[in-house]
């Protein structure tokens, strides 16, 4: 068995292209990259918060998580990914319990991959984002 690339860049590219037409959603990729510093749980939880004020942004975060789970599954690591209604406290607890009890060694790897995925997404965001004032491309994502 040879070295298998995760093909992170291709997944990142496809995600950015998919959400390109949804208003100002792409700026979220910079926030995703920042969130990775705080671990998997916070990253996953963010889509629940966003469901209250922006469906598109929530979808973007959730789709990124799902893509990330898919990448990890290819490597044999099963990252929890339940569909959760934020009003259903019991379901939220089940999912977060799964995340907290997720094997620590696998978690370290997963987090590194998620960080890499977000790095790639930031890169594609800077290329595909439709900027309001074109000059400079608003590379800081604001």
């Amino acid at each position: 068995m040879s070295l298998k690339p995760f093909e992170i860049d291709r997944y990142a590219h496809d995600l950015i292209l998919e959400f390109r037409e949804k208003g100002d959603v792409l700026v979220e990729s910079h926030k995703m990259r920042m969130a990775t510093a705080y671990g998997l749980e916070r990253f996953w939880g963010e889509h629940l918060r966003l469901q209250r004020d922006s469906r598109d942004k929530a979808d973007f975060w959730k789709k990124t998580w799902t893509t990330f789970c898919k990448i990890m599954k290819e490597a044999g690591i099963n990252v929890p990914n339940d569909a959760v209604n934020p009003d259903n406290t019991a379901a939220v607890k089940t999912m977060t319990d799964k995340l907290w009890s997720f094997d620590i060694e696998q978690r370290k790897i997963a987090l590194a991959v998620l960080t890499e995925l977000c790095d790639s997404m930031v890169w594609w965001t800077q290329r595909y984002r439709k900027s309001r004032n074109v000059a400079g491309g608003a590379a800081n994502g604001r």
């Binding site: 068995m1 040879s2 070295l3 995760f6 490597a75 044999g76 690591i77 060694e105 790897i109 991959v113």
Partner: protein
């Protein structure tokens, strides 16, 4: 004709030995690469140049001391005006001239022109001489790569191991008393996807896997004793990958940065003072062969009498903290 030895380089800081015009363009500063594997190398001429300047300094110090003992006053400046000479002399030339007049000569042991060859005078290309010491390029042996959870795993490939075997095969004795050179090529090829004894791979679905942040691989051959392949003694957490994979892994593992040069009087980027640079990461282990002509009347001791190990700066970009290395000479 030649006595053969080799040197091991361990980088103590990122190392950038880059090309000049051509390969390097604009603000992109790539390192020199091997033409087959696309992994980093240090050209033999760079090594020779570095050794030469080391010895030149030794000779200058010797001359200064010798003249001082004869109570000759040495001017402080780097360039010294001498009557009858059109151009001012460099400090070293001045010292040399004084020494020649007094018929004192430094030992051949610290004569860089003897060991590394005489450079041509500006207008006379036939004044060069053949060097006593020859260098080939230094190639990678082990490259440290970030692995989540590890945090570092050293990576090599059969071609890199085989080059090391060619250089050190005679002088390295294995645990079973055999020489390193007795390991067959096919045995080396079979090391692909084996980890060292000190590597702790993750068990996923019953398979031992090693994760990088851009991909993963299964350690299909499990763990093997790789200690023979570590010239500095310690068997590091390591894995051997295929020759057609090392290039991609190498590219991901390089130390890469965008840097700027600021203006002298303002905290702003100097116009055009923006450059991207790459370097071999700290902890890289490289190997280079040295050949010494049999007729050399003395021992080549570039680091001083009896010293086989020295810290030395290689490559460029010292000003941004690159280039500090430790060289260990073996088999001399």
């Amino acid at each position: 004709m030649y006595r053969k030895g080799y040197g091991i380089i361990e980088t103590l800081a990122p190392l950038h030995v880059g090309a000049t015009a051509g390969e390097e363009s604009g603000n992109l500063n790539p390192i020199f690469r091997d033409s087959f594997l696309r992994t980093g190398i240090i050209p033999g001429s760079s090594l020779r140049g570095r050794f030469r300047s080391q010895m030149r300094l030794q000779r200058q110090i010797w001359l200064e001391k010798a003249l001082k003992e004869r109570k000759i006053d040495t001017p402080d400046s780097r360039e010294i005006k001498v009557e009858g000479e059109k151009e001012p002399l460099t400090r070293l030339h001045w010292l040399q001239k004084q020494a020649t007049e007094l018929k004192i000569e430094p030992d051949l042991e610290i004569d860089e022109n003897f060991w590394y060859g005489k450079t041509a005078a500006t207008d006379a290309s036939d004044t060069t001489s053949e060097a006593m010491v020859k260098f080939e390029y230094a190639s990678l042996l082990w490259l440290p790569v970030f692995c989540p959870g590890q945090p570092i795993v050293w990576v090599s490939s059969p071609k890199l191991l085989k080059r090391y075997q060619r250089l050190a095969g005679e002088s390295v004795t294995l645990k079973d008393g055999k020489k390193l050179k007795e390991i067959s090529g096919s045995q080396i090829d079979r090391l692909v996807y084996s980890g060292s004894q000190t590597l702790k791979a993750l068990n996923v679905e019953g398979k031992k896997k090693l994760f990088f942040n851009f991909g993963f691989l299964e350690l299909a051959k499990g763990m093997t004793d790789l200690s023979a392949w570590f010239p500095l003694g310690e068997e590091l957490p390591a894995v051997v990958v295929a020759d057609d994979e090392i290039g991609a892994i190498h590219d991901m593992a390089l130390y890469r940065q965008s840097r700027v040069r600021l203006k002298d009087d303002e905290k702003r980027v100097d116009g055009g003072g923006f450059f991207n640079t790459e370097a071999l990461p700290e902890g890289t282990i490289m190997v280079f062969p040295v050949a010494i002509r049999q007729k050399a009347p003395q021992h080549w001791q570039p680091f001083g009498k009896g010293k086989q190990i020295s810290e030395i700066y290689l490559g460029g970009l010292e000003s941004i903290g690159f280039g500090n290395c430790e060289i260990t000479l073996k088999g001399m």
